[in-house]
Amino acid sequence: MGEQSIIHMHDISKNYELGKITVKALHSIDLSIEAGDFLVIAGSSGSGKTTLLNLIGLIDTPTSGSIYFDSKELDGNERRLTEYRRDRLGYIFQTFNLIPVMNVYENVEFPLILQGVSQGQRKQLVMDVLEQVGLTGHHRHKPRELSGGQRQRVAIARAIVKKPDIVLADEPTANLDSVTGEEIIELMEKLNAHNGTTFVFSSHDPMIITRGRRIIRLHDGQIIREKEAA
């Protein structure tokens, strides 16, 4: 476990019960996520990318093994997990998962409301982050009025507005055309470089995978290779 580790996973396994069959989604995973990482989890479909992201994002629990957050082992306390999700982690989903009854501003503002940030501060933070993702002037639009790329930018803004330790993205470009996907990756790179935001994202697209500074390749639920860009 490195000193800079935000999350450390030790001997993690995850099994799913499908009727009488046990599917081993992850097997003996050891992984540390360091502050400032731009990490890609690569692998073919069914390799366990999403399962691993879910475990890192504390939205799923391992069958065995330990997860450490800030060197403290997580014990399944629901209140503490909610606090971590609220304050320390940001999510970007493949299908954007914006709340349709909220406009762009409200979607981005929502995590700050959960944190109890004052209205004045919220406005400043939301407008700043919308500018960073290039959505100034779109804050009153409803998600349905935006293109796929714009929706994903809103999702990124929502994930980073609270300045989380880690932003997790499950195949963030999978539902976008290649040009828009490229824009999204560039945006994430920019935020990582300028703000020091840690990104962990999954992909099976070779073009996207090569953009990672650290690449973990999964196969049948096991890490088969880990590579750091020079």
């Binding site: 994002g57 939205i59 799923d60 909610t82 609220r86 349709p100 009854v101 909220m102 959960l114 929502r158």
Partner: protein, 409 residues
């Protein structure tokens, strides 16, 4: 953006479904309000009719009237009650003080004799008593016209049974206060219809003085006190009780509802029906609301997963659905009240007549009372029903594992 706003907005995502639910609530709860309003009208009408035709608000009896069995008629009647009556008339709230005698005997047309149940009254005051509630009291006009002397009014069924017409003579036979037999010949001056045919077959009404002559007494059974408002009954009961004690009037007093057995039975009957109907309609509202919320929850399972993954607590998510149910109930409740109020106005102006209830001889106009307490109770019941209907499905979905909720299609 609070969870309350989120709940409110979520309610109108599927406008058509929400509107359909609101329509069900509006008609269901509106019908409940109309039913309860009609029952309230029957209750009010029957109560005031009972008071302004039978019981008055207060009744004064001899102190032993209810405790001891009379061996002769009027043994425990009120004697020389003019002081008592004039004392009662001093109260500002007292509108009418009148005496009555209840007696029984045989009535004969010379060929046929049947038992009767008689009431001896002060005809002018009886008419006034009915006038206080807007009834004509015309049944007493004929007694008033002839000064009450040698006159009797018969129940229509009794007149038919004796085969007598207005103007014919009948003989009343009864025992006097001394236990002796006495009889009097009286002319039939009118007939009346009663609340039931059974009552009509036995009932007669005569003037108080005629009855006192027949019974050879100056006593009366009871003094009826009618007040300006029914709501004053309890207060005047206390005040008159104290006044009677202070002035050595040895009487016992009853409030109107203690002497209104028929009213209580009818009220209980209608309350049972209304209670049953209320239950059914609230169940319908419960399932209509639950259906909307369940559909809404199922469709938004992935969104719930998203909210939870953003750090929303399960309680906050639950709160959102509770607000959704709350708003559904509030909007539905207001729509139902508006619908019921307008429908009640239409019904009340329609002049629609209802058939006579079982055992009764006269129908009555369909009327609905718009009473604020009923509206408030039903409104809150609607809101609570709607909130409860959202609780269980919301509770279940917020217990889901986040990853399962996010994977929901």
């Amino acid at each position: 953006m609070t969870f309350m706003t989120l709940g409110y907005r979520s309610l109108f995502r599927q406008k058509r479904r929400t509107v359909m639910t609101l329509v069900v609530i509006t008609f269901g709860i509106g019908s409940l309000l109309l039913t309860m309003g009609h029952t309230a009208y029957i209750d009010w009408g029957l109560r005031e009719n009972t008071i302004h035709s039978e019981t008055g608000h207060l009744q004064l009896f001899h102190q032993d009237y209810f405790d001891k069995e009379e061996e002769t008629i009027l043994q425990y009647g009120l004697e020389d009650c003019s002081d008592l009556k004039s004392g009662l008339e001093q109260y500002l709230e007292v509108q009418l003080v009148q005496a009555r005698i209840n007696f029984m005997g045989l009535i004969s047309n010379g060929e046929k004799s049947v038992a009767f149940v008689g009431q001896a009254v002060e005809p002018e005051k009886e008419r006034k008593l009915r006038n206080l509630f807007g009834n004509s009291g015309a049944a007493f006009d004929s007694l008033i016209a002839c000064g009450g002397e040698d006159a009797v009014v018969l129940g229509q069924a009794l007149a038919r049974s004796l085969n007598v017409q207005i103007g014919d003579w009948v003989t009343l036979m009864t025992s006097t206060t001394d236990g002796a037999l006495n009889a009097v010949d009286l002319r039939v001056v009118d007939t009346f219809t009663g609340v039931s045919t059974e009552y009509e077959k036995r009932a007669i009404t005569i003037d108080l003085q005629t009855a006192q002559q027949l019974l050879v007494t100056d006593k009366v059974n009871k003094i009826i006190v009618t007040l300006d408002k029914t709501a004053n009954t309890d207060r005047l009961y206390d005040e008159i009780s104290q006044w009677a004690k202070d002035n050595s009037h040895t009487v016992t007093m009853k409030k109107w509802h203690e002497q209104a057995a028929y009213y209580k039975k009818v009220r209980s009957f209608f309350q049972t029906i209304t209670g049953f109907l209320s239950l059914i309609l609230l169940i319908i509202v419960f399932f209509a609301s639950a259906n909307t919320i369940v559909m809404s929850i199922v469709e938004r399972t992935r969104e719930i997963g998203t909210l939870l993954s953003l750090g929303t607590s399960r309680f906050q998510t639950l709160k959102m659905f509770i607000f959704e149910g709350l708003f559904l109930g509030i909007i539905g409740g207001f729509m139902a009240m508006a619908f019921a109020y307008l429908a009640a106005m239409l019904i009340n102006n329609s002049g629609l007549m209802m058939p006579p209830p079982p055992g009764n001889t006269q129908g009555y106009q369909l009327m609905v009372r718009n009473e604020m307490p009923i509206y408030i109770i039903v409104f809150f019941a609607t809101v609570l029903t709607s909130v409860f209907s959202s609780l269980l499905p919301a509770f279940r979905v917020t217990r889901m594992k986040i990853v399962d909720a996010l994977g929901h299609i």
